[in-house]
């Protein structure tokens, strides 16, 4: 029997689900090996009986928690897709300011009804057990297909344990950090084929960190190339500002350090 698959989203741009729809060349084949029972962005079907739940987005409003718990209770396998679901992502940039302040700036201070927001934007793993993660902002469509293949085969989807720098070297992209551009490739988890540096933007660690990130060395490298250590800490906030993710680099690259 084909595994029954469902897609859900919390606070996000739904870009990762769009990446799923971007597997155009193999979409008919994909639909022949899985049965999609719930995918609001593309289908009317609202099945509650599923084996695998792919969940995008971070938890940002009070209702999100119970809804995610219900998905967890129904799914045999829960897969977090994208930086928001795995790490908090850009949503967690707001965690350094109290939510009352945010509400004041955007909603004239209203926090009732549809304007309600949790104090922190957080990854799925802060509330439920997540079986697997597909990292990235957005996820890579090929990596998604490979994860589906692994899940059908009953194996563990592969997540590269090494740094983005490895992929830059393999594809021959000149080092941005050496040109004084604030790139996080040395601490960031690979798997994206280092696409950002190849297209002229520094790595911002949207896949989180690899197995042995050396934040202290990152701060020093920034300093050596004419940037402040503080800038390194600031760049690390972009996708990795959820408190549990943040602790390691805050110790190594204190944002209060003047240099």
């Amino acid at each position: 029997m084909r595994p029954r698959v469902a897609f859900f989203s919390f606070g996000s741009c739904e870009g990762c689900q769009l990446q799923v729809l971007s597997v155009e060349d193999v979409l008919p084949e994909l639909l022949s090996v899985v049965e999609v029972v719930n995918f609001r962005e593309a289908m009317d079907d609202r099945g509650d009986d599923y084996d695998i739940a792919f969940v995008e987005g971070s938890l940002v409003k009070p209702d999100d928690v119970a809804e995610l718990q219900q998905i967890r209770a129904r799914a045999k396998i829960l897969v977090a897709i994208g930086a928001c679901a795995c790490l908090g992502g850009v949503n967690a940039m707001r965690n350094r300011r109290p939510v009352t302040e945010l509400a004041r700036e955007v909603y004239d201070g209203r926090q009732d009804g549809v304007f309600a927001a949790l104090p922190d934007a957080s990854p799925l793993s802060s509330v439920v057990q997540v079986n697997y993660e597909i990292r990235g902002c957005p996820i890579d469509r090929i990596e998604f297909l490979e994860a589906v293949r692994s899940l059908i085969a009953g194996t563990v989807p592969y997540v590269p344990p090494f740094a983005v720098c490895v992929e830059c070297t393999l594809r021959g992209t000149p080092c941005l950090l050496e040109r004084g551009i604030p790139c996080l490739g040395s601490v960031a988890r690979a798997g994206c084929n280092a696409v950002c540096p190849a297209y002229g933007a520094p790595c911002e660690a949207c896949r989180g960190f690899h197995e042995v990130p050396n934040f202290e060395a990152l701060g020093e490298a920034f300093f050596r190339h004419g940037m402040t250590r503080t800038l390194a800490a600031e760049k690390l906030q972009l996708f990795n500002n959820y408190r549990e993710v943040r602790e390691a680099w805050e110790q190594a690259v204190p944002s209060s350090s003047a240099t």
């Binding site: 971007s22 962005e41 289908m43 957005p138």
Partner: protein
């Protein structure tokens, strides 16, 4: 007084994001008729505060997966306006090519994947893989081509990478452009078939005349890269004075702000652009409009679908023309330098697939963003969507509730709302 009943759709399907339809009827009197926007607030305007301006296109494109190229474009335009940077002709051409790619991908996604199932009476495109394999294959081919245009220019379609104020982090190479050119030429047939398909479909009629708005660029091009905001009322507003024409306000049932025009309800997007700029279309797109019998003065929101089909032809033609022009000389252009490096305020106003998008930044002398405001096309359309629902309901009251719900979902869907984007 007739019996009361409620028509509720929790989480309208085949749209981006979370919205509910809530209608309360008492006999045939409408007591309530709302499109609740229950998407999560993400506070992007606050997230941008304090960040270096170079990050702005990359942070703000995360507002929306479907129109991330549009957000990056509006964002980089706002930064350039603030810093006094005038982009060169090749930079403008490459960015326009990427926008054409995004228009094509977004419109094809909407008309073929999200809307077409209604015409065939199925809940999604999935059953059509078996029943209408040619329709599905053509849609998939066009969508792939559109995605690949964006991948060529900016590394990927969702979250474009190479946007910087005054320069591109990557310039498409001759070999990449030539490959695109070949595929664009081959795709003409698919677009022709798309027009044929939609010319044969019919939709409900909800005629309701409201103000149509689009940002028309100087020089006569079809509206895409932004310029003064034109209204069917005749009013013209400079981008930086957008607050004179667009008035944001809060309502209890929507996490997205509602927006009023000067005279009341407004519409933006393909239908509004077509109303204001149909003379600017390429002859191929004009021909498509004639085959689709799309009237320039249409006030029927279901015509958004036909207008998007017309614009798909336009986007395809523009992409082909731009690729061919770039192939003459694909060498990178020198970066444009800031004329006002100490910063200031800048507004980027562009036409994204769903309509007029505004990014308004103030950049400090330290190169960091001090404040930001973004207005999203779906926000601009919310008042109109609810007005159309109200106008549509009386013709539906005799039917069972599930049918009313389905008809209203189709109406909301016709606008191609981008809900999480509208809340941001």
């Amino acid at each position: 007084m007739g019996a009361s009943r409620a028509v509720v759709v929790r989480h309208v399907t085949r749209i981006e994001g979370h919205g509910n339809i809530v209608v309360d009827l008492e006999g045939d009197r409408i007591k309530r008729c709302d499109l609740e926007i229950v998407e999560s607030p993400r506070f992007f305007e606050v997230l941008l505060q304090g960040r270096p301006y170079d990050e702005a296109p990359r942070i703000s494109c995360r507002i929306c997966g479907i129109c991330s190229v549009g957000h990056a474009t509006a964002s980089v335009h706002a930064v350039e306006a603030a810093l006094g940077i005038t982009p060169g002709p090749k930079l403008r051409a490459v960015r326009r090519l990427n926008m054409a790619g995004e228009w094509l991908q977004s419109h094809i996604l909407h008309v073929c994947f999200l809307v077409a199932p209604d015409a065939f009476g199925v809940p999604s495109i999935v059953p059509m893989v078996g029943s209408h394999p040619d329709v599905v294959k053509r849609a998939l081919r066009l969508k792939r081509l559109a995605n690949d245009i964006c991948c060529t220019v900016s590394g990927r379609h969702v979250m474009p990478i190479s946007y910087h104020a005054g320069w591109m982090g990557h310039w498409p190479e001759r070999v990449e452009l030539r490959a695109l050119q070949e595929r664009l030429i081959a795709a003409e047939e698919d677009l022709d078939a798309l027009v044929e398909l939609f010319a044969g479909l019919s939709w409900p009629v909800v005629e309701r005349r409201v103000e149509h708005l689009a940002s028309l660029e100087d020089g006569g091009a079809y509206p895409m890269m932004g310029g003064p905001l034109h209204s069917t009322s005749g009013a013209v507003t400079a981008p930086e004075a957008y607050r004179d024409a667009l008035h944001e306000y809060l309502v209890d049932h929507s996490a997205a702000k509602h927006v009023r025009g000067t005279d009341g309800t407004i519409r933006v997007g393909a239908l509004a652009r077509y109303a204001l700029a149909h003379q600017r279309l390429h002859p191929r797109a004009k021909d498509a409009a004639a085959r689709l019998k799309l009237r320039a003065d249409s006030a029927n929101p279901f015509d958004y679908v036909a207008a998007q089909v017309v614009e798909s032809v336009q986007a395809h033609q523009e992409a082909l023309d731009l690729v061919s022009a770039l192939l003459v000389d694909p060498a990178p252009e020198a970066p444009a330098r800031p004329g006002r490096p100490h910063g200031g305020r800048g507004v980027g106003m562009v036409e994204v697939p769903r309509g007029t998008l505004v990014h308004d930044y103030t950049i400090g002398a330290d190169g960091r963003i001090k404040s930001a405001n973004c207005i999203i096309p779906t926000s601009l359309n919310l008042v109109s969507i609810e007005g159309d629902m109200r106008a549509f309901v009386p013709s539906l009251v005799g039917r069972p509730s599930p049918e009313i719900a389905h008809a209203l979902e189709m109406l909301v869907r016709a606008y191609d709302p981008c809900v999480s984007c509208s809340v941001h």
